[in-house]
Each structure stands twice: as structure tokens, then as C-alpha cells.
Homo-oligomer: 203 residues x 4
């Protein structure tokens, strides 16, 4: 089994990414359970605006897309800005929109059979909303979102420290992160064993 | 396999429910595939405000809850009001919140192992938002939401006719509804074959 | 100037309402600034499902609606359940939907000229989402939402104590609540001085 | 009075922008009422990721920010992708986040006193959600959103034509667009006449 994390921080390398720090808790548990895990920091790449799989002009999404196609588990990891996912996360979802026109001869998108989860950090409130909008978009293009396949961290209310600034409340988020990893793997194995999704009627 | 539809229309029986009409397309496909399906119209019952499994005072949620516990597939079917799910749908989700404190000795909620889907009708825009908020809440309490496990219908923009007022655009929504049924069943069978979700660490 | 708070807690009187406790901080500031303020606890009333101004069968919304018509400022105060507003809050918004068909001879809804704000408490994340969905619905029916006309409180991440259980982080939420009151009053006075909104074209 | 439209299409010039086409209906009405209106197509500029007012490395946000500071009315105009605002719109909101730390000596953000509206096009459902998340973010940084200060267009359900592909249902969206313009101008004038928002307590 393979997993891919899309780190959707707004901060370019080598700045510390709080989102990556919490995502790594999920990744470590996946690795303990035998999954090969990779993480990609999208802001370091040239991910062009658009809704096609290759937008040209040096677009680096095609390489990310290949990794997604090769993974059984996709994790959307994003910071919270304005109570919402980052523009980098939204860009990734837009690019996944292309899957809807890349169906196989039975009408299945390339994501059908894969599972997805969501990791959210922030210095403020917004995580449930991001899980909602992230899950909806991922389900829309064919991912399955297993039970409790998310984790989040922030201290509330109002702007506060970042995840890597403090150990406060890590215990909750890290525990939930490990459950997230286990539930993603369980879902991925269940879908792999079940074979292809049924043929889809073309609307 | 058993499926339960929560019809969250605001209209009491015997008024025509557009939400039920579209839900029945999903139900018919599930029945064709051998699933026993039941539908409950929540507004006809006394579903008390609260977040416990039994709120007393004639609360009729406990009976609904029993049906949910007995089903492999749950479908949240709701109209769109103000671009959002109905207050009846929100009430049902609040009552499901109790699942979080009703875990088994391995920390699993009663919904873990079940799948959920979402059906939305309306006389206006709002369906994607309802799929987002519905999916998030259902995943939060332990349901798995399979690929493309939703359908919706409305004509846009601005207020328009209801689903049962016209045949316009039924073909899209009905086709997607049948795919929704197939994907829910595929997910439910996959989870059933995979056995229990892994033990959950207590946060 | 008059203000009305809709307390959308799920808890019937005389249980302690955390939502009311934070709303009272807004109310106290409004009163200091000369506004007459009233609060209504909707769960104690029979607010019938529907989208008309009077749903019969003992419906107590008409009395609430009269208070809204008499107020310059409306505050939607709600707890957070599943990261979303309460079903009681959603019910109130549905009932306000009737305003869209109760326009004056220039096409203006009864809310045009009034301002609205939002108060959110919870034992978990969700406030920004509630401000978003609350503001959208209130703007949809004709309220104006002034700058920073909200406050919220919860400790994150994961379920935690309620507002009245602790003094932690009250300072942030209470300060923001007083600003919310000031901004609502500024907006209400500005709209009152400006006279009627322009005639609306009928779509 | 001056208005600025942020066109958040994903398509670079000179491709036809449906979002601009609907935004121009709002703009034309504003101009009829004496407002000087400008439109900026953000995807043609280098708007860097981040939450500061100047992110360096050729960042072209500072020029956009100057135009926002000079305007009384801001209009966020965005297409709908995955039922949500575009990544370009989300990027603009992130950059506006900087306003929260650029307050005057009375704690007011640079947006306080300005109004904002939202224009949404799409080939599918999602507009109410975008109005919700857009309004919340704009209110968060200090804009006031007047009654019914939005318009949207799409045909539902499922993917369909774009706004400029057809005349279908333009009448609704264009009428609502003109009301949006009138309500924005009314709100802007009301706030201008009312003077500064009250001093804000620092949380």
C-alpha cells in the first residue's frame, strides 16, 4: 500500500510547515503499518491555475498527478486561513477536477478505489469546515472517505500559536491522527479487496 | 444488506415530498441490487432537540436510532433551504452526535462499518454545500462516505420549480442517483467483508 | 434603537445556556450604548417546521417575527454541534425565508434596513463556518452584516469545556463581543440615517 | 464613489471570462449610478502565496491592495469549481488577511467603512456556499456586506453551459446583479455618511 500527502502550506521550503508536522504523525502511523508514504509540498512547485491535468507553461501538476495515480491513500493536508483551506489546497482540488473527464470504459474516475483523508492545522478555528469542503470535493472526483479519516489542531478562540510553537493539546490531535491513519488503511484495504467499483451510468 | 433513508423534508405527511421522490430513485436501484430499504419521514415524528440518544418527553429518536443501528447504509435526504440542509436534517445529525460517546470496548462508534450517502433536492442552489456539511458530520461519527455517494436536483439560478413539478433535468439526477446506490452498496459490501475497523486510541 | 437576540441553544429553560452567556456580553455593551435589548430562547417555544411566516398548529414563530420586525439589530446566537449551527438556528433561518415573499411595493424585504450579527459558542471548532452560513442566510433575506459583527468562543482542538465552565479565553471572546456590539450599532445607525434601500427590480 | 472588482477566474487573458461577463452587469449599474469602476484579472498577475501585504519575489499584490484601499466598494467575482470559490479568489482573501494587523490607532482595519459584494458564475451548483465563505472572510477583515449584495448564475443540476454560452436564465441573474449594485452603493453611501466605525478594543 502507498500513501501520498499533499502538503498545502503557503510557506515555501525550507520554512517550518506546521501542516507537515501534524501530517507526519499520520505518516508515521501509516509507515508502522507497512505503508510506503511520500509527502509533496505543493507551494514549492509550479502548479498552474486550471482544471485540466496538464496546463502547460511549465506546469508541474502532471508529476503530482502521477504520484496520486500510484497511491492507494491520498491525504490533503492544509493550514487554516480565514477559517478555510489554503489557496494551495483549493488549487490541488481544482486540478483533481480533471479526473471527472478521465473515466475508464466503465465510467469510473481514476480515484475510484482510493481513499482520502484530511489533516488541518491552524492558529485559529475552521477545521470542521475544511474537512467538510475537502471531503466533498474528494468524494466528488471518486475518492472514498473512511470513518474519522481526519485530524486537526488549533487552540481557540482567536489567533494563537502554531502547532510547532507549543506542545499544548498535541495529545488529542496526535491520537486522532493515528486513528486517521488506521482508518485510512482499513478503508484502502477493504476497497482493494472488493475489486472495482461497479460500472457507472453516464449522466 | 439493509438501507435506511432519513427523509428530512419540512413537510408533514401526506404532502408530496420532492426529497422522497428523488430518494426513491436511489432506493429502487438498491432494491434491484437486493438491498432491503426503508424510509422514515422525520418531520412526522417527535424528534426532540438535544445530543443524547434519548431525550425523553416522548422523544421518538430512539426508534429511528434502532433502525440506523440495523442498517448497513444510511442515506440523508434533505431539501435545500437558504442554500443549506433543512433543520430536520441538522436535528438528525445532532442526535447522531451521541454515537461519539457510545463506543465499543475498542473505541469504535456504532457507525463504524456503515456507509452513508446524501440526496439533495431544492428549488435553488446549495447541493454541494449540503453534501459537504452532511458528509463531514456523518464521517465525524463513524460513517464511511464512498465515492460519488450522492445525487442532487434543482434548476438554477434563483428559485424555480420543485423536482416533482417538472421532468426537466431528471435524467442527470436520476442517473447519478443510481450510481449513488451502486457505490453505496459496493462500499457497504467492502466494509462488511473487511471486518471491524481497527481499535481506536482514546484521545 | 432596539436589538433582538435569538438564542438557539438546544437546551430548554432553565438549563444554563452558554450561548446566552456569551450573547449577554454583546447585549450589555448594546445596553450601555443606549439600545433596548431583548433575548428569546427559541427552544422554549413551538417553532414549527416550514418556510411561511405562520405555520399554524400552535406555531409561536409569529410572535418572534413581530419582535424581529420591531428590532433594528438581530443577533443569531447559536451553539456549535458537529461544527455547524444548531437545528434551532437553522429553523429560525428557514422561517426568515418567508421575508423573500413579503416585500414592500418597491420590492424590499422586511429585513432591508436592519443589521445582523452572529454569536457562537461551542465545546469545539466550527465558529467560522457558522458565521459564514449564518451571514449568507441573513444577507439573503435582506439583513446587512457590518464589519466584524460576530464573536465566538471554544477551546480547541477536540471536545472541551463549555463557556460557563471556565474563564479561559473569555477575554478574547468578550472583547470581540463588545466590538461586535459597537459595529452592529454603528451599522444600524448608518442604515437608519441613510433611509430606505433603493427600489429592487423584480427578478 | 469608487468600486473595484477582483475577477478571480482561472483563465488568463485573453480567454473569455464568464465571471467578468456577469460582473460587468453589476459594474454597468454602478457606473449608471455615478460610481467609477475598475476590474482586475488576478490570474494575469503574480499574486504570491502568503498572508502578508507584500510577499516580495515580484509579488504584484501590493498594486491590487492599493486599488482596494482606494475603493469604497469591493466585489469578489469568482467562478465555481467543485462547488467552491476558485483558488485565485481564496488567494485574494488570504492576502486580505493582512488587514487584521494593519489597524489604525483606534484598532480599525483598512476595510472598515468599505462594503463588499460577491458575484458567482459556474457551470454547476455552489453559489450559496461561495457567498457564505466569501462574505465571512470579507466581514472578518472589516468589510460590511449589505443586504442582497450578490448575484450568481449557473444552470443545474450537473455540469452545464457557461454564462456566455447561452442567454438562458440571464434575466434572473442580471436583475439580481443590478440590485446588488444598488445595494452596495446604498451601503457605501450610508457608511461614508456615518463616519468612522467606533474604536475597537484590542483582544
Amino acid at each position: 500500500m502507498k500513501a501520498l500527502v499533499l502538503n498545502c502550506t503557503l510557506k515555501a521550503s525550507p520554512e517550518t510547515s506546521n501542516t507537515e508536522a501534524l501530517a507526519r504523525v499520520v505518516m508515521t502511523q501509516l509507515e508502522r503499518d507497512g505503508v510506503a508514504v511520500e509527502i509533496v509540498r505543493l507551494v514549492d512547485l509550479n502548479i498552474r491555475p486550471g482544471v485540466k491535468s496538464d496546463e502547460g507553461h511549465g506546469d508541474e501538476w502532471p508529476g503530482v498527478r502521477e504520484k496520486i495515480l500510484g497511491a492507494d491513500v491520498l491525504i490533503l493536508a492544509t493550514p487554516t486561513w480565514m477559517g478555510q483551506m489554503s489557496s494551495v489546497a483549493k488549487r490541488a482540488l481544482e486540478r483533481l477536477d480533471a479526473f471527472l473527464s478521465e473515466t475508464d470504459d466503465q465510467g469510473r474516475t481514476p480515484a475510484m478505489g482510493k481513499v482520502a483523508g484530511i489533516v488541518v492545522t491552524g492558529n485559529e478555528d475552521g477545521a470542521h469546515h475544511i474537512v467538510a469542503t475537502g471531503a466533498q470535493a474528494l468524494i466528488d472526483v471518486g475518492f472514498t472517505v473512511p470513518a474519522l479519516a481526519w485530524t486537526y489542531w488549533h487552540l481557540g478562540p482567536g489567533p494563537g500559536p502554531d502547532y510547532t510553537d507549543t506542545q499544548q493539546a498535541h495529545e488529542y490531535s496526535d491520537t486522532v491522527a493515528r486513528n486517521c491513519a488506521r482508518n485510512l488503511l482499513h478503508g484502502a484495504k477493504a476497497l482493494a479487496a472488493a475489486g472495482d467499483f461497479p460500472p457507472q451510468e453516464s449522466p
